[in-house]
């Protein structure tokens, strides 16, 4: 095939203009209908949808394992009106779901994208349930994070819990499924993400190769891909888009880990589903409000899709946002040559507060992981600084230490040497470099609030999330004095479960340009795209929900070349 080509290149060797023009021929190494970059939740859902609609699909994964952050995650999608809810006896309705999402997005998402998500999401989940091994259950004990807001669902949950999946079903690919060092092989409902878990069951599942959560979601989606003839190449990174003279994306230049350059043609479309840019320091600096020093995700998401889309002329949205997380660290754990940022815990516990370098509280400590770190960005225009800049400090006492799992410290275990501790608050403050007067005063105040049963400063003990699975926040659950030494301090860093700004997409998952026109042949989904719902994390599953929905819509649209009828659900 001889075509006039414009290669949008990311290669470092490139010199001169932004685009390389090649009037010669490209020797395609492979020609398919649809190419999907990435192998996480967005990518594999897109691949299933494209293949289901008759496309010949090639998945390219940059790392040596499939599944991306999705495999490493809880794997929970948040899908309003899903049929599992109905079966569990929970009522939901379209208008309530739309109103709730609009309320959270504070006007920063397009209404039609919210409506598309609400209208299509449950259909897609039903399609997957009926036609693939992708199955979920309703995590009955896991309510909505914002349950106490007026617009929220009060009874039940829109989150979905991936059902346990036998990894042997995907044969030798099972060994290539990204490991999940954070969650044991239990479902959300079984306590996989909240503790109180049956370690015997965990051991049995490990022995039998039964996976749950993100690994179940990825493995079951992957099985659906295998069943539909989707081909996957690992250690093959999408580098450049190939764009013809009509401005249509017609292929991908990829690079293997050995540096071999391959050219893949995509007659119907390229779907960017290669995650966000949380591992790219330059992009973080360019776009985010503060540096994500501790991405909680596996390395690999370096903004490749964002750069390709920018060069192809994509409009961008949500660029200063991420799925924020207050990350903590047990330095004795490493994942792929990095000290592993962990989800941490303890901040909801009664005998703890979080303070800045002045020893002062600055936020309701138990708000959601996406919301709490937003307080790190507050600017003091008099001091000309960000006083709450991470690391901030979780301060707690022996009572909390004795009653909760904190990062990896089991109650009753001796405190490891990486935890700062002291017999007095003052000594602790001095040890960690926090203003001792400020910290002493703040703890005195906190202890008074605990006695009064009310936190007038930040309203601890009033929201659902801070005691999510134990009835919600209350003075009994969340207000407890810090009084029994030794006292402990742990740093909290700015982490993220991924970024969520990127190329703007429309209701078909097509990447649009600055005029809102689709860039022909280019699609994006998941963290490689701007979150279509805006800067919100509505509840457990708030990222994987839209990733799957718009991934599916992208795959379906690409395979059907626009106007053709959608797949029957």
């Amino acid at each position: 095939m001889i075509i006039k080509l414009m290669i949008v290149t990311l290669s470092k060797e490139r010199k001169g203009d932004d685009f390389l023009f090649d009037t010669g021929s490209i020797q395609w190494d492979k020609e398919v209908d649809v190419i999907v970059l990435g192998s996480g939740g967005a990518a594999l859902t897109a691949a299933v949808a494209a293949a289901e609609n008759g496309a010949n699909v090639l998945v390219l994964e940059k790392t040596h394992q499939i599944g991306g952050t999705t495999a490493y995650s809880g794997g929970v999608p948040w899908i309003p009106l899903n049929h599992y809810m109905k079966e569990a006896g929970f009522e939901d309705n379209r208008e309530d779901a739309i109103t709730f999402i609009k309320r959270l997005s504070l006007g920063r998402a397009d209404d039609h994208m919210i409506e598309t998500f609400v209208d299509k999401g449950h259909e897609i989940i039903k399609f997957l349930h009926d036609n693939t091994p992708v199955k979920f259950t309703t995590p009955l004990s896991y309510p909505e994070y914002y349950k106490r807001m007026d617009e929220a669902l009060k009874n039940g949950t829109r989150s979905l819990d991936p059902a346990p999946f036998d990894l042997n079903e995907i044969g030798e690919w099972g060994a290539l499924l990204r490991q999940n060092p954070i969650f044991p092989p239990l479902t959300l409902e079984e306590g996989g993400a909240v503790g109180g878990i049956d370690f015997q069951l965990v051991a049995e599942r490990m022995q039998k190769n039964i996976v749950t959560m993100g690994r179940s979601l990825v493995a079951s989606l992957f099985k659906a891909c295998l069943d539909r003839g989707v081909e996957t190449l690992i250690e093959t990174a999408g580098k450049d888009l190939v764009i013809n003279n009509d401005g249509q994306v017609i292929g991908v230049v990829a690079e293997t880990k050995d540096g071999e350059i391959l050219h893949f043609a995509a007659s119907k479309g390229v779907i960017l589903a290669s995650g966000g840019f949380e591992w790219n320091k330059q992009l973080i600096k360019a776009f985010l409000k503060a540096e994500i020093t501790h991405p909680v995700t596996p390395p690999g998401n370096e903004g490749d899709a964002l750069m390709m889309a920018m060069k192809a002329g994509a409009a961008l949205a949500n660029m200063s946002e991420a799925w924020w997380y207050p990350a903590m660290v047990d330095p004795t754990f490493e994942y792929e040559d990095h000290v592993m940022a962990q989800l941490g815990s303890g901040r909801n516990g009664p005998n703890s507060i979080i303070v800045n370098k002045y020893g002062r509280r600055f936020v309701h400590e138990g708000t959601t992981y996406n919301d709490m770190p937003r307080s790190f960005f507050n600017f003091d225009p008099v001091k000309m600084e960000f006083p709450n800049e991470a690391p901030v400090w979780l301060i707690f006492d022996q009572q909390l230490k004795d009653s909760q799992l904190i990062i990896t410290m089991m109650p009753g275990d001796p405190a490891p040497e990486w935890v700062d501790q002291a017999d007095s608050i003052r000594a602790l403050a001095e040890k960690i470099g926090v203003d001792p007067d400020g910290l002493e005063d703040e703890i005195r105040k906190w202890n008074e609030y605990c006695e009064q049963g009310e936190d007038p400063d930040f309203h601890r003990g009033t929201i659902q999330f801070e005691a999510l699975t134990t009835g919600g926040g209350s003075p009994e659950n969340n207000l407890g004095k810090i009084e029994k030494g030794p006292f402990y301090a742990l740093p909290i860093y700015l982490g993220a479960l991924g970024t969520n700004g990127g190329p703007k997409i429309n209701e078909n998952g097509q990447v649009v340009d600055f005029k809102g026109e689709p860039i022909k042949g280019l699609y994006a989904a998941g963290n490689a795209s701007a979150n279509p719902l805006g800067p919100i994390y509505p509840s457990a599953g708030g990222t994987i929900g839209p990733a799957m929905v718009f991934g599916f819509l992208a795959g379906q649209h690409a395979a059907n070349l626009a106007e053709q009828p959608a797949v029957n659900y």
């Binding site: 044991p184 370690f199 051991a203 004795t332 754990f333 490493e334 994942y335 089991m410």
Partner: protein, 150 residues
């Protein structure tokens, strides 16, 4: 109980092997993931190493208590976690085949305790035998290296 035994034939005299093995400083750095060690007494030492569990690496500190030095053939030890909840033990056994050859056996067993024990032991199922093999092989390699140079 996660455990592993590894046997190798070494083309060296048993006394040469003993000379090397009886001084822990010689082979401590050969423990896979070795970070450092400190000899506390004739029979006690502490070790830090980074265990590669495949899906992640974990730095652990442990204490080794030598229970028996049976010159020239055996070192038997107990181990216990200083930073984590586990216990175990192991031995090196050297048996002469002839003047120039020795059969060397390395054995390691580690059992995690506490609430997470069942799960951690499952994770250690592969790790322990792999470590026993790697350590024994490393020692043999080192022995051959030293004695070839001589």
């Amino acid at each position: 109980m996660p455990q592993g035994t590894h046997i190798v034939e070494v083309p060296l005299n048993i006394n040469t092997i003993w000379e090397f093995v009886h001084d822990m400083n010689n082979w401590a750095p050969l423990v896979p993931g070795y970070i450092n060690h400190e000899i506390l007494s004739e029979s006690q030492s502490t070790w830090a190493f980074k265990g590669d569990l495949g899906f992640m690496k974990k730095t652990v500190k442990l204490k080794i208590d030598i229970k028996e030095w049976n010159e020239p053939k055996e070192v038997i030890f107990d181990l216990s976690g200083l930073s984590d909840n586990f216990n175990g033990g192991g031995y090196f056994l050297a048996e002469p085949i002839d003047e120039e050859h020795t059969k060397m056996t390395g054995h390691l067993d580690i059992t995690a305790g506490g609430m997470m024990g069942a799960m951690v032991n499952q994770i250690l199922t592969n790790f322990v035998p792999e470590t026993a093999q790697e350590l024994t092989d490393n020692i043999v390699k080192k022995l051959l290296e030293i004695n070839l140079v001589k």
